[in-house]
C-alpha cells in the first residue's frame, strides 16, 4: 500500500553505482578525427573548438573532415530507419577514409556510433565489420582525454562551485559518467556539488522534446530547479543535446543560471580565460 512508503528517507541524490569502465583503451595516437556533432556545429561551435585545443594540448593532431554532418540519431530514434541508415553510411564512409580514432564531444552521438550503428547495419555483414571497427575506435571526449591521453590539468581559475550533468547516453551507453568527474577533480579550484536526482534524464531525448513537450518540459523544469538549488554557480556537461535543452529552458524561465560544455569549461580553467571565442 502506497502510504507505507511515505516515511522512507527521501532520495536526495541517486547516482548510479560506480562501475569501472571495462573498456580496453589503446595507446595515445598521433592523430584523431573530431566528429563535431550537428548540435555543437550549429549551437556550441566554441565547445568543439575547445575540444580541438584540449586534444592538441596533448600532442594529438586533430582532423576535422569538412564532409561530416549528423550521426543520424534523430531519424533513428524517430523510427525512420532507412533515412538514419543513409546518413550513417555517409558518416561511416567519411570516418573510414582516415581510419583514425574518432573523438566525439557528446555522449549520445558517441553512443550512436558505438551501439546503434551495429544495429542499423546488422543485415549487411560487410558494412557491419566496418561499423564494428568504428565502434571500437570511437571515444567520448572525456574518456579520450582521461583514459587515452591520461591528461593532467593544472587549474588557473578562481575558486568555483559547479554542478555536473551527465547525459543518459554517457551514463548508460558509453559508461563514461565518472570520467567527467575525474577530470573535474583534477581542478584544484573547482568544487563539484551533487544535485538532486543527478542521474535522472534532463528530458531532452531528441525528438521526444517536441513530440511530448508536456512531459519533456516537466522533466527539464525539475532538472533546472535541482541544478539551481544545488548551490553551484554554473552547470557543466559533456553533451550538446542536454546543454541545449537545459540552457534553453533556463533562458525561457528568465533565470541567470546557465550551463556550459565541459570542453569550454576545462579550457578556460587551464588557461585562466576562455579562448573559445570567435576572433
Amino acid at each position: 500500500m502506497s502510504q507505507l512508503f511515505y516515511d522512507a528517507a527521501p532520495n536526495a541524490t541517486r547516482v548510479s553505482p560506480e562501475r569501472e569502465a571495462d573498456r580496453h583503451y589503446p595507446e595515445k595516437s598521433e592523430a584523431v578525427t573530431l566528429f563535431g556533432t550537428c548540435v555543437v556545429d550549429l549551437f556550441f561551435p566554441e565547445a568543439g573548438l575547445d575540444a580541438i585545443r584540449l586534444l592538441e594540448r596533448e600532442g594529438v593532431r586533430v582532423h576535422f573532415p569538412q564532409e561530416q554532418s549528423c550521426c543520424g540519431q534523430p531519424a533513428w530514434t524517430s523510427g525512420y530507419r532507412d533515412e538514419a541508415k543513409a546518413v550513417a553510411r555517409k558518416q561511416l564512409d567519411i570516418l573510414d577514409r582516415s581510419g583514425l580514432p574518432v573523438v566525439v564531444p557528446s555522449g549520445s552521438c558517441a553512443g550512436m556510433f558505438r551501439h546503434h550503428y551495429p544495429a542499423l547495419f546488422a543485415d549487411e555483414p560487410d558494412t557491419l565489420k566496418r561499423v564494428e571497427a568504428l565502434a571500437e575506435r570511437t571515444f567520448e571526449l572525456t574518456e579520450f582525454l582521461l583514459k587515452v591521453c591520461k591528461v593532467q590539468l593544472a587549474d588557473r581559475g578562481a575558486p568555483s562551485r559547479i554542478a555536473l550533468h551527465t547525459s543518459c547516453s554517457a551514463r548508460r551507453e558509453m559508461n563514461t559518467h565518472l570520467h567527467a568527474r575525474e577530470l573535474l577533480q583534477q581542478l584544484e579550484g573547482v568544487e563539484r556539488v551533487d544535485h538532486d536526482h543527478e542521474s535522472e534524464c534532463c528530458g531532452f531525448g531528441g525528438t521526444f522534446s517536441v513530440r511530448m513537450p508536456e512531459v519533456s518540459g516537466a522533466m527539464v523544469k525539475d532538472k533546472t530547479r535541482s541544478l539551481m538549488d544545488s548551490g553551484a554557480v554554473e552547470m557543466v556537461t559533456a553533451d550538446g543535446g542536454c546543454l541545449m535543452n537545459i540552457n534553453g529552458s533556463l533562458e525561457k524561465q528568465k533565470q541567470n543560471f546557465r550551463g556550459r560544455h565541459l570542453a569550454s569549461f576545462l579550457w578556460e580553467r587551464i588557461n585562466g580565460a576562455s579562448a573559445g571565442e570567435v576572433a
Binding site: 511515505y6 580541438i52 551507453e173 528530458g203 522534446s209
Partner: protein
C-alpha cells in the same frame, strides 16, 4: 484529485491525460515520493554490483532459455499439473479466459469470489465480466481493494493504489464505508482487513495470479506480502489461478534466482512475507485447502510477441515494476495516464501485442530513451531498444504487411518527406555546408517560435560561425588540416 479512467473504453490520448496529470500537484508528489522510496529500496537490496549483474544475467538466461522451448514446457506443465490434480484450461483471448472462469464458478453455483492480486485478471477485466453476470468479485490485496472501492484501475503493477496518499484513502473509506477519518496507516489497514477477513470465509471461489509456473514439478508459485494470496488460494473451496503463458519455467531451481530478482527489484525485499507453492487440491487425508484447483493459461497476444525474435524479449518480464519505479516519465505522469492495464516502460512494450499498436500509438514516443528502465530490468529486457523498434513499426506504411499488430498507426507522408529532406541535407556535404553558412549568417532571422520546442525553451539561435568554419580556420592556422 486523481484521474478516472473509464474501465472499458481506451482513448489513445496519452498527451491529454499526461497534461492533466502534470497539472495535479498532489498526484505528482505522491508518485515522486513513492518512486524515490522504491528506487532507494532497490539500490539498498543490491549492495554488491557484481552480484547484481551476475544475477540479472542468470535471470535473463533462465527466461530466455525457457522461452526458447516454450511449447514443450507448456505441454510438460499441463501434464504435471494434471497429475497433481490441477485442471488446466487454455484461453487464446480474454473473452475465452473470462468464459472459462465463469463456467467454473457457475458449476459450483458460486456468487462470491475473492481475489488475490493478479495483473492477468486485470488484463481480463474479470471483475466487470463477473459483476455483469451477478457474481461479486472482491479484491483482497489492500491496494487493489482501494482502487476497486474507488472504481479505478491500478496505477502500478505492484502498488495498485500508489497514486493515493493516506489522506485520500481515509476520505475514500469514510465516503464508501462510513468509517471515521484517520490518516494512521495502521488504522486504515485494519479497516480494510475487517471487511476482507469476513469475505475470505464467505467466498465460494478464490482467484489468484501466478508468478512462476514450474513445469518439472507442476507447481504454481505465488509471492505476496499481505497473506491475502494465501487466504484466497486456500480458504474458499475452489481456487482458480490465471496467468500468462510466458510464466512457465523449467524447474524449481530456476525459481530461486528469479524470486530473489523479483522481490529485490520490486520492493527491495530479500524475500516476500509469503511464498506460496501450490501443488494441487486438498488430499483426502488433509485438513484444509481447496477442493478444486484450476489454472487458466492466457495468450492474449503473447504468441504474437513470441513470434518476433526481438519482441520475444518482452516475455522475459517477471512483473517487478522496477522499470516504472525508475522511469522519469512514469514518475511524472503516473500510471493512469497510460490508459492501459500495464503502465510504464513494460506497458509500452507489451500493450501493443495485446491491444494493438494503433490503440496506443503515442506510447512508444513517450520516452526520452534515457535507458533507466533497461538498466534496472532484472531479466535484462532491452526496453529502450524495443521502444525504438516500436517507433519503426509505428511509422510504417499501413498498406504494407505489419510485423506488430496495429503497426503503421503513426504513418505520415509529410513526416516521411521531412526525414527524406533531412537525409538529403546530411548526406550531401556541399548542401549541408550551405545550410550552415545560411543559418549562421542569417541567425538574426531565426524564428522566435519553433513549434513545441519554444513552449519550454527560448528560441534556438545559431552561433555566429559553425564549427565547420571555426575548425577549418583553426586547423589552417595550425597546419593540422588533413590532406
Amino acid at each position: 484529485m486523481s484521474q478516472r479512467i473509464p474501465v472499458t473504453e481506451l482513448t489513445p490520448d496519452f498527451r491529454g491525460r499526461a497534461e492533466e496529470a502534470l497539472a495535479d500537484g498532489q498526484l505528482r508528489e505522491n508518485f515522486r515520493v513513492a518512486m524515490d522510496s522504491l528506487m532507494t529500496k532497490r539500490a539498498n537490496a543490491f549492495p554488491d554490483a557484481d552480484e547484481r549483474e551476475g544475477l540479472r544475467e542468470l535471470g535473463n538466461r533462465i527466461k530466455a532459455g525457457a522461452l526458447s522451448r516454450l511449447p514443450d514446457l507448456l505441454e510438460q506443465l499441463e501434464q504435471k499439473l494434471t497429475e497433481n490434480g490441477i485442471k488446466v484450461h487454455w484461453a487464446e483471448t480474454i473473452e475465452e479466459a473470462n468464459n472459462l472462469v465463469h463456467d467454473i464458478i457457475e458449476a459450483r453455483k458460486g456468487s462470491q469470489v475473492v481475489k488475490g492480486k493478479s495483473m492477468v485478471s486485470e488484463e481480463m477485466e474479470m471483475n466487470d465480466y463477473l459483476a455483469e453476470r451477478g457474481i461479486e468479485c472482491l479484491e483482497s490485496d489492500m491496494g487493489e481493494y482501494i482502487v476497486q472501492l474507488d472504481n479505478e484501475k491500478p496505477s502500478h503493477i505492484i502498488m495498485p493504489a500508489i497514486h493515493k496518499n493516506a489522506r485520500q484513502v481515509s476520505k475514500l473509506f469514510h465516503d464508501k464505508l462510513g468509517e471515521p477519518e484517520t490518516e494512521d496507516v495502521n488504522q486504515l489497514i485494519q479497516i480494510g482487513r475487517r471487511t476482507l477477513r469476513r469475505k475470505f470465509m464467505e467466498a465460494d471461489v478464490g482467484v489468484s495470479g501466478v508468478n512462476f509456473a514450474v513445469a518439472e514439478t507442476g507447481t504454481l508459485l505465488l509471492v505476496e506480502n499481505e497473506g491475502n494470496g494465501r487466504m484466497s488460494t486456500t480458504a474458499p473451496p475452489v481456487h482458480i489461478a490465471v496467468t500468462g503463458i510466458e510464466k512457465v519455467v523449467p524447474n524449481l531451481r530456476d525459481v530461486v534466482p528469479l524470486v530473489s530478482l523479483l522481490t529485490r527489484s520490486a520492493l527491495g525485499q530479500p524475500i516476500t512475507t509469503y511464498v506460496n507453492l501450490i501443488s494441487g487440491p486438498r488430499k483426502p487425508d488433509e485438513l484444509d485447502g481447496p477442493e478444486e484447483v484450476h489454472l487458466v493459461l492466457l495468450d492474449n497476444g503473447r504468441t504474437g510477441a513470441f513470434a518476433d525474435a526481438q519482441m520475444r524479449q518482452t516475455l522475459n518480464c517477471i512483473r517487478c515494476g522496477a522499470c516504472m519505479n525508475h522511469c522519469p516519465v512514469y514518475t511524472r505522469v503516473g500510471g493512469h495516464t497510460y490508459g492501459e492495464v500495464y503502465p510504464g516502460p513494460i506497458g509500452k512494450i507489451i500493450t501493443p501485442h495485446m491491444a494493438g499498436l494503433d490503440k496506443v500509438p503515442d506510447h512508444p514516443s513517450a520516452s526520452s530513451l534515457c535507458g533507466a528502465c533497461g538498466e534496472v530490468c532484472p531479466v535484462k529486457i532491452p526496453i529502450p531498444e524495443l521502444l525504438q523498434r516500436l517507433r519503426q513499426e509505428n511509422v510504417k506504411d499501413p498498406e504494407q504487411p505489419q510485423q506488430v499488430k496495429g503497426g503503421g498507426a503513426k504513418y505520415s507522408r509529410t513526416e516521411r518527406w521531412i526525414w527524406r529532406g533531412w537525409q538529403m541535407l546530411n548526406t550531401r556535404p556541399a548542401l549541408y555546408r550551405s545550410f550552415l553558412w545560411a543559418a549562421t549568417r542569417f541567425r538574426a532571422l531565426a524564428p522566435k517560435k519553433a513549434g513545441p520546442w519554444t513552449e519550454n525553451h527560448s528560441a534556438p539561435v545559431p552561433a555566429r560561425r559553425s564549427l565547420h568554419d571555426l575548425a577549418a580556420r583553426h586547423l589552417d592556422q595550425n597546419g593540422g588540416r588533413p590532406s
